[in-house]
Amino acid sequence: MSNNRVSRRQFLSYTIMGVGGFMASSLVLPMVRFAVDPALQVEGDSDFIVTDQLVSELTEEPIRVSFSYEQQDAWYTSEVTNDAWVYKAGDEIIALSPVCKHLGCTVQWEGSADFPNQFFCPCHNGRYEKNGNNIPGTPPLGPLDQFVVEVRDGYLALGEVKPNFIVS
């Protein structure tokens, strides 16, 4: 028999420490992982969609720029085409959403002969100024939304739609 026999007490305390340590680590490690995870995520290349529109061809006059992307609606994936009204104000590119803030129709630049230099919504005669500001007395309650824009290799890229940030 060897001299360093493990006593019953020692054996039990080692066992409990071992099992307990394992259990504790299985609790703590995921927590650490989740806490650190956001820092490990690679920043995606954002959700910009590059359009066919050359930035050099833009003028002060708003034009309609179409772009398509895939949309997943539950089990159904479809190609959606959307528009933006784009123009230049000085060096800045302004891209406005064509969706009327009243009930969601599509607005047209100079859509009514009676109101030049304005966006016009044919549904309920809503009107907006060139910067998207809604004209009081017409149904819309807020200015047209605006796209975040970028220039990529000379082409216009449209990002997120945000509440209008040029109307103050």
């Binding site: 190609e79 009243h102 009930l103 969601g104 129709c105 549904c123 309920h124």
Partner: protein, 150 residues
């Protein structure tokens, strides 16, 4: 508006503004001779009416396509839909179809008959521009009805 759960609440709340309905009428022909044309026409009509809906979302309720077998009595279908829509209080109803047999129905006053354009083999960009051209034929008719009533 679409005739769908998430949009219908807005329709109910804003009923005073949404005074127009669009009813796509689609013929179902599953016979060997007609199935290709029937399905292509259905695809055309569904994409045209959804473009129209997007344009006029705030004033127009797009109903799901009414599909009927090729030998159905058009007059009966037409009058049943008309009655249902009349009871809803909707002022303007547009029936849109590529089915020739509706042309003889006098009962529906705003029936837009559009010959189906075969778009299934076009690439997406070209198809989009063709459909927008088609849409431009319909927009003035809707605007005209609205202007006449206001």
């Amino acid at each position: 508006m679409l005739f769908a759960g998430r949009e219908i609440n807005q329709y109910i709340e804003q009923k005073e503004y949404i005074d127009t309905a669009v009813v796509p009428l689609i013929e179902l022909d599953l016979g060997a001779g007609g199935i290709r044309q029937s399905s292509a026409a259905a695809e055309y009509m569904i994409s045209l009416t959804s473009l129209l809906e997007r344009q006029f979302k705030g004033r127009l309720l797009l109903l799901p396509p009414v599909s009927y077998p090729k030998n159905s009595d058009r007059a009966e279908i037409g009058s049943a839909i008309r009655k249902e829509l009349e009871s809803s209080g909707i002022k303007h109803v547009f029936y849109m179809t590529s089915d020739v047999k509706w042309r003889s129905e006098e009962d529906l006053d705003r029936l837009l008959w559009l010959p189906a354009v075969p778009v299934e083999h076009m690439d997406p960009k070209f198809r989009q521009s063709v459909m927008e051209d088609q849409l431009r034929q319909v927009l003035p008719l809707v605007l005209e009805a609205w202007n006449a009533s206001s």
